[in-house]
């Protein structure tokens, strides 16, 4: 027996069914656009919205009515932000300082990391390029005789030579290119879930940073143990001091991040059933 068709009204009801979780998500995005509202403020306002929603539902209103009324009661995001700024104008800077310090630390780490990566490339990849003619010169010698193609040495200098910053420049640009790609594909926020892991709590962030600095110091000590003290080289103590001083910059940034880290509830947001 063929299935009886659904009543048109039921179909329409189903199609226009109000998704309260999506509505809350939209509202949350509107709040996030207000720089004056910290993550803790937004969390608190959302808790309030949910309390109001639950109460209105208990009074017999449907999902959509309850949400619209609860939202109206909490207030327009722009007006809320204005009130919060009026109450504490300095507050807006707290989160800005936090993110500025976090970005500066990231740039610092990337800059040092890319220098290290560049040095590794120069040590291990460059000799391979110099040895493999086919890699660079796919053309026969007679073509190379008439055409001004770059030689292996030219290419080596272009890519890894001390005067050339081409490779290093591209390495430094990699994060920008990566972020641009993620932005264009709308995957930026999802790709930074690791940041939530690092900034889970102040204690956790300080612990991770402490381990990182310890490894860094061990690396410096290990390098010094292998260091050959020749006549023209600076003494190991001077190198140790210089390296320890270079740690001051990231250590200061870590302290600033920990100090200005927003305290917030990390529990996943509840879903309305």
């Amino acid at each position: 027996m063929a299935e009886s068709p659904q009543h048109p009204r039921k179909i329409m009801e189903h199609q226009t069914r109000f998704d309260v979780n999506a509505a809350i998500e939209n509202w949350r995005n509107e709040l996030s656009a207000q720089a004056a509202l910290s993550s803790d403020d937004r969390r608190e306002l959302e808790t309030h919205l949910r309390e109001a929603f639950t109460e209105l539902k208990a009074r017999g209103l449907n999902d959509e009515e309850s949400f619209v009324l609860a939202r109206h009661r909490v207030g327009q995001p722009q007006k809320l932000a204005d009130e919060f700024v009026k109450e504490n104008p300095a507050k807006i800077w707290r989160e800005r300082i936090f993110w500025s310090a976090a970005i500066l630390l990231l740039i610092h780490l990337w800059s040092n990391g890319s220098q290290m990566f560049f040095a590794i490339c120069r040590t291990f990849v460059a000799p391979y390029i110099l040895k493999n003619h086919h890699f660079i010169s796919p053309f026969p010698d007679w073509v190379r005789f008439y055409l001004p193609l770059p030689s292996n040495i030219d290419l080596y200098n272009l890519l890894f030579g001390t005067s050339s910053m081409l490779m290093f420049g591209y390495l430094c640009l990699l994060p920008v290119i990566g972020i641009a790609l993620l932005l264009s594909r709308g995957r930026l926020s999802g790709s930074f879930s690791w940041a939530q892991f690092i900034f889970r709590s102040r204690g956790w962030f300080l612990f991770i940073s402490g381990v990182f600095f310890l490894l860094w110091i061990l690396f410096i000590v290990n390098s010094l143990l292998r260091y050959e003290n020749q006549q023209n080289n600076p003494p190991p103590s001077a190198i140790l001091t210089a390296n320890l001083i270079s740690l001051l910059h990231p250590a200061t940034l870590v302290a600033v991040i920990a100090w200005f880290m927003p305290t917030q509830n990390r529990k996943p947001l509840e879903q309305v059933k």
Binding site: D40, D41, R43, E44, L45, T47, H48, R50, E51, A52, R73, V74, G75, K79, L80, E83, F84, K86, E87, N88, N265, K267, E270
Partner: protein, 112 residues
């Protein structure tokens, strides 16, 4: 409905007085104010939080995120020792205003 200025001025002693009876969260504070005033004092929901945050910055109240029995997490506020002293001082001032007005309007001042 009360005048806007009076609502704003009374928000501080009202919040402190509610918290003097025990810890509470934003939504509950609003409900209590509505209930106690018989609906005459109507605060805009979202505007309560800047008041709470200002009181917290002045160290009159403290806050803590806690999980309620329902499983929902709420930011609970409670009165600090400085808040108790401030409330006592504010109470004195409000009573003086109340008693003065009561005399002027020939109402028996019931509060002391």
């Amino acid at each position: 409905m009360l005048a806007k200025d009076l609502v704003a001025a009374s928000s501080r002693p009202l919040v402190l007085s509610i918290l003097a009876k025990g810890e509470s969260y934003g939504y509950e504070i609003l409900q209590k104010v509505r209930e106690l005033s018989g609906g005459h004092i109507e605060w805009s929901d979202g505007m309560l939080y800047p008041v709470l945050h200002r009181l917290e910055r002045e160290k009159l109240i403290e806050s803590e995120w806690k999980e309620a029995e329902s499983g929902r997490e709420r930011k609970y506020y409670f009165l600090s020792s400085k808040g108790k002293k401030t409330l006592a001082a504010e109470r004195e001032q409000w009573l003086k205003v109340h008693n003065t007005l009561a005399k002027l309007w020939n109402i028996k001042p019931a509060l002391t």
